[in-house]
């Protein structure tokens, strides 16, 4: 049995180590900008962080940085939720039902390696330059990752568990609902983690093409106006929100899958 009481101490140590590594990185960055030629092409973290806070009250374009983040998040969430739902359903069906696998897997395997941003030109042709084309690109990013993980989760179900359930009298439906679905939850969460990251990366690319709000737009607008600090503000926003989303996903997983976390 593991010592549960030590877990809290471990968390504080992790947070402390993370804080130290970030502080050292920022210090090196600031010193490099102040005392080397890096300062010619890059602004320091003090200026970027300062500008980040200023942009929370002074708009970039029409919106403050929080509003730009919310715009991007709304696009990510729309595409991510659609991609996740469809990906989980398709992945599980392909993993459990052979005819579904035979029917959909070849098509999926052809679509999977195509980078989502390669679809941008076609998505504009199909959906126009508004929101639906962005949702579509993000949907593809989430869908690819989650489908593969849900499929792998079903394939990784312990056959002895299935055998044990059948011995205890479980029919096919009961084996599916009581063994297969719960077994693949950790794989699905791993897929959701990957998908949320790739969705967030993709929204930035999608907003760089055509948008008037969002963090991708902030970055590309900074490039157009030759404002390194605005580009960095956009990049910092992407980093912070991406990190927050990953933490949120891990928190949800820890709550919903306590059994997969406790005792480790």
């Amino acid at each position: 049995m593991t010592g549960r009481s030590l877990k809290g101490v471990g968390s504080y140590r992790k947070i402390g180590a993370a804080a130290i590594s970030i502080a050292v990185f920022l210090l090196i960055w600031q010193l490099a900008v102040m005392f080397t030629d890096v300062g010619i092409v890059m602004v320091g973290p003090v200026e970027v962080i300062g500008r980040f806070f200023v942009s929370m009250v002074e708009p970039i374009g029409h919106d403050t940085i929080q509003m730009h983040i919310l715009w991007s998040l709304s696009r990510v969430m729309t595409g991510f939720i659609l991609g996740s739902v469809l990906g989980i359903v398709l992945g599980i069906l392909m993993g459990w039902f052979r005819p579904m696998n035979a029917l959909f897997r070849p098509l999926y395997e052809i679509i999977r390696p195509i980078p989502p941003i390669a679809w941008i030109p076609l998505s504009i042709v199909w959906f126009g330059i508004g929101e639906p084309s962005k949702y579509f690109i993000i949907f593809l990013a989430a869908f690819s990752a989650i489908t593969m993980n849900a499929f792998a989760g079903v394939k990784a179900v312990d056959p002895e568990l299935i055998g044990a359930a059948r011995m205890l009298g479980a029919n096919n439906r009961q084996v599916f609902t009581t063994i297969v679905l719960p077994s693949c939850v950790p794989h699905i969460f791993a897929g959701l983690q990957i998908a949320i990251g790739s969705s967030w990366a993709t929204v930035v690319a999608a907003e760089m093409v055509r948008a008037s709000q969002g963090v991708g737009w902030v970055i590309i607008r900074g490039q157009d106006s030759n404002s390194t600090v605005q580009i960095m503000v956009g990049i910092v926003a992407v980093g912070i929100v991406g990190f927050a989303l990953a933490v949120l996903m891990r928190w949800i997983e820890a709550r919903l899958c306590a059994w997969n976390v406790r005792g480790k």
Partner: protein, 246 residues
């Protein structure tokens, strides 16, 4: 009800051209503790999987209570080599799994689970998840889950093969206690001859592939058994000789 619970008639199993089980026939009496021993890789697990229809025998018939095996009707529990616990369920939920599958009433399930958890000494760990348990506790969860459904036939496939010696001894004694308390028929597969002699009333010795039955030995040593007694050593040597010489 017939005295014979399991009847295997001329069972043969082939995987492609590979003949694994060759014309195997034997009976198991109701309430009997039967151990099946044989060399590693001789097809012991295939043997059990055919009885439970996880594999379909190529030919021959297997009868339980004089009827072909029907997993829905026949109350059979199977304990595999690995500790096949459901990691997303607590100890209590794991033990209740078979009863839930059979849609037994809630208060009945609670009573049965309480009883069997007490028997295996896991009552105070009922809310723990498998990831929080030691190896011996995991094995007890699996045994408790099997006994909770009060199986008429319990199949065990080298359940203690990966345990260290003292833990194995303890779990063997616990299993014997459960068997005596419940009167369940047990078919126990092992490659450990001492374990087979310690547990069983009858020992089925298998040959190497293609597997047939080399001998069936009756083990009338009284319980509890002493592994150092001359009678115990005599039976152990007898089984060893049967496995050594083809």
């Amino acid at each position: 009800m017939s005295e014979t619970i399991v009847k295997v008639n001329h069972m043969t199993k082939k995987f492609g051209d590979l003949l694994v089980l060759n014309d195997v026939s034997f009976d198991v009496r109701r309430g009997e503790f039967l151990c099946i021993v044989g060399p590693t890789g001789c097809g012991k697990t295939t043997f059990l999987n055919c009885i439970t229809k996880l594999y379909e025998p190529t030919s021959g018939e297997i009868l339980i209570n004089d009827k072909p095996v029907d997993l829905k009707q026949d109350n059979i529990a199977y304990i595999f080599q690995e500790y096949s616990t459901m990691s997303w369920l607590t100890v209590e939920q794991n033990v209740a799994f078979g009863l839930e599958i059979k849609k037994k009433p809630k208060d009945f399930i609670k009573k049965e689970v309480d009883e069997v958890l007490e028997m295996v000494g896991l009552t105070k760990y009922r809310d723990y998840y498998p990831s929080e348990l030691s190896t011996s506790m995991l094995q007890r969860v699996v045994i408790a889950r099997a006994f909770a459904v009060k199986p008429q036939l319990l199949l065990m496939d080298e359940p203690y093969g990966q345990l260290d010696v003292d833990l194995r001894f303890r779990l063997e004694d616990e299993l014997l206690n459960l068997w005596r308390q419940t009167g369940t028929t047990v078919i126990f597969i092992t490659h450990n001859i001492e374990e087979a002699v310690y547990l069983s009333q009858n020992i089925l010795v298998l040959t190497n592939k293609p597997t047939t039955i080399k001998a069936r030995l009756e083990n009338t040593l009284p319980f509890p058994r002493n592994v150092t007694s001359p009678e115990f050593i005599k039976i152990r040597s007898e089984v060893t000789d049967l496995i050594k010489w083809w």
